[in-house]
């Protein structure tokens, strides 16, 4: 969209929520509940958190309130991403697919699940997560087999992005170019500017619906210092990432990484708990199960999130293929950073850092990837066929 940027006051999120709620959207956004950040359904009159910021580190995430009267105490988006990702709403953790009942006179009556009633409006999507939604779009709707449940939620969803100006310690979106700014794929983009002189949002529309929303919200065209301020803040954020990843290096090292020594070292620490995959905004794997009631006359097919860290995930006749923790961690890291390219033409990681913070023992994929790159380099420096990590070595 070519419409010019609009300046909105610090209550822009609430006005967006009220407006979209009034239009019949099911509005979802961040809330602080019991001291943790969650994504919840919101209704007109609900407000988003104010004055909170987060500190993430491997295996640790703390949400804190800013003390004092400084401008940051009024900041609306001082936190980055919490444990929950938007896939909770677009690709729900548990879903009944259909119910089957024995029909009178034999046969089965099938009752498919009804789709969602109202379109979603997601408020406060960070650029990394916006990219993650595009990644899941390709996986779940891009091929010949469209995931109906995802498509039903995704179509018509209204996306309100909030650009990042202060990246966290576990963030590395800049390595992928999936943040900290957003140039498209949204309906509305907000960038919060806060200092002693001003507090508000530079708002840009990314679709006709976004234009219409901006028009309805009023506001005045953003001034040159405001639009420049937005650009500068986002550019500076790109250079203030807490972490970085050599995307190309990881891709090629892991493509030939099956025999590298690091897997056994990670397996010493990895709990096989699956948290990394379940918090990851791009991981899409599910498992299907059928259950009956006691009478045996009613059956249900359900699907729920699964993970390549589950033993059953690689179950073929005779047992699970990836039994060791080493094999399972290798599958995760290799899929995210390497084989996803072969499969879907891009990376399976957007650099949101969730898997680093929410790993209960702080395993950091940027660090493990750097080790893989280094070990691959060392192995390649050795004469072919020698050493434990010679090409083609497999365990």
């Amino acid at each position: 969209m070519n419409g010019s940027a609009i300046w909105l006051g610090p209550d822009a999120p609430e006005r967006v929520i009220a407006h979209l709620g009034g239009q019949g959207f099911r509005v979802v956004g961040p809330r602080v509940e019991d001291g943790v950040l969650v994504l919840e359904e919101l209704t007109a009159g609900d407000s988003l958190p104010t004055g909170w910021h987060d500190r993430a580190a491997p295996g640790s995430y703390r949400l804190e309130r800013r003390e004092g009267n400084g401008p940051r105490a009024r900041e609306r988006f001082g936190y980055r991403v919490g444990a929950q990702a938007w896939k909770r709403y677009l690709h729900p953790p548990e879903l009944r697919l259909f119910t089957a009942e024995r029909a009178a006179g034999g046969g089965l009556d099938l009752h498919p699940e009804k789709g969602p009633e109202a379109p979603l409006a997601l408020i406060g999507v960070r650029p990394c997560d916006l990219t993650a939604i595009a990644v899941q779009d390709r996986v779940l709707m891009g091929g010949r087999h469209v995931d109906e449940a995802y498509a039903a939620r995704r179509h018509g969803a209204f996306l309100v992005v909030v650009e990042c100006t202060t990246p966290g310690a576990t963030c590395f979106c800049a390595s992928f170019g999936s943040g900290p700014g957003a140039e498209g794929g949204f309906d509305l983009a907000l960038t919060e500017l806060i200092d002693d002189e001003r507090h508000g949002f530079v708002a840009r529309a990314g679709s006709a619906r976004g234009e219409a929303l901006l028009e309805a919200l009023g506001g005045r065209p953003a001034s040159a210092p405001e639009t420049d301020g937005r650009r500068r803040a986002v550019d500076e954020a790109a250079h203030a990432m807490g972490r970085r990843l050599d995307v190309d290096g990881a891709r090629s090292a892991l493509a030939e990484g099956a025999g590298l020594p690091l897997w056994n070292d990670v397996a010493e620490r990895c709990l096989n708990c699956a948290n990394c995959t379940l918090v990851c905004p791009t991981c899409f794997c599910v498992t299907i199960e059928d259950v009956t009631d006691l009478s045996g006359d009613v059956a249900e097919r359900r699907r729920r999130w699964d993970s390549c860290f589950s033993l059953d995930f690689s179950y073929l006749h005779g047992g699970s293929v990836r039994r060791s923790g080493a094999a399972r961690y290798r599958q995760w890291l290799t899929h995210k950073l390497s084989s996803w390219f072969e499969q879907f033409g891009e990376a399976g990681c957007v650099g949101c850092g969730r898997c680093i913070a929410w790993c209960p023992v702080g395993i950091d994929l940027t660090q493990e990837a750097a080790i893989a790159i280094e070990q691959r380099r060392q192995a390649d420096a050795m004469p072919r066929g020698r050493g434990p990590a010679g090409r083609g070595a497999r365990r």
């Binding site: 444990a83 990895c270 006359d297």
Partner: protein, 282 residues
């Protein structure tokens, strides 16, 4: 329950057949798991419709002679008498499902396994000579073939009904052996360990409770025993090094309802001896 009108349909035929006989047995335990069956209030009629409750002293004194199609076995083996009785239960039962932490891992009474039972008896009883107990409390599967195990202290109603439903219809029960963390994430609970530094056994504990404790801000106590591939040593190292948990406290956390489950018992023994969960060198 809906029934097809056609009296020759497969369901009608099944209903005309003898209902499978259910027996519920108690060994060394607190009765809590058996009570879960009585707790299935809404489903009791459907259950009675499908199963003949032939032996269930907690519910009825009426006793129907064996053999039984399905035996639910609660409790661990702790006395010489129980050693014999479990063999008889197995002989009389087509399918045996062990229910609860006692029956699947020894239960809280297996704390004695790392202590001297005679000394304990002398401390507690005025006349220990009246006691006739084994040195250890052991799970049912150590003595007879068990067809399926339901974990938990106590088991959950949902898993019990699912297991019985699966038995009745000849299918595999639809629950896994993954970590409690997966249930936490599915229900949307924000991790109490990462966000609050609360020691939690969830990453090494089998799912089944629905991640109850983390939903109330508590760490997991490990009621459902070790998950499918638990790395207990790594989690205990993290507790000690990052959360500041004392070695003795890690041992206590592992020695509760599933104290004798090998993954928990081994890590506790290693920490007990060296102060480090993986043993000396860790």
């Amino acid at each position: 329950m809906k029934r097809p009108a056609d009296a020759s349909g497969p369901v009608a035929r099944a209903a005309q057949r003898r209902r499978p006989r259910l027996a519920v047995w108690k060994f060394s335990s607190c009765d809590g798991c058996q009570l879960t069956l009585l707790d299935c209030e809404d489903e009791l009629l459907a259950l009675a419709d499908r199963l003949e409750v032939a032996y269930f002293l907690e519910a009825s004194r009426a006793v129907v002679e064996g053999p039984y199609d399905l035996s639910l076995v609660e409790g661990s083996i702790t006395t010489p008498d129980e050693l014999e009785r479990i063999q008889e239960v197995r002989r009389q039962s087509r399918t045996v499902i062990a229910i609860g932490a006692c029956a699947t891992a020894g239960g809280i009474q297996s704390l004695r396994n790392v202590l001297d039972v005679d000394e304990l008896a002398r401390t507690v009883y005025a006349e220990p000579s009246y006691l006739d107990v084994l040195a250890t409390a052991t799970p049912i599967a150590e003595h007879v073939k068990v067809d399926f195990e339901l974990r938990g202290c106590p088991i959950t109603k949902e898993q019990l009904l699912e297991a019985i439903g699966a038995f009745l219809h000849g299918r595999r029960p639809a629950f896994g052996t993954v970590s409690v963390c997966q249930e936490c994430k599915r229900r949307g609970t924000v991790c109490v360990m990462v966000s609050g530094g609360v020691p939690c056994l969830g990453p090494v504990t089998q799912a089944g409770c629905g991640a109850l404790c983390p939903a109330y801000g508590r760490g997991c106590y490990g009621c459902f025993g070790p998950a499918e591939s638990p790395n207990v040593a790594s989690l205990m190292r993290w507790w000690q090094d990052e959360l500041g948990v004392e070695p003795a406290a890690t041992v206590r956390a592992l020695r509760t309802f599933n104290a004798a489950a090998p993954a928990f018992a081994d890590a506790a023994a290693a920490a007990d001896e060296s102060g480090r969960p993986g043993g000396e060198g860790a």
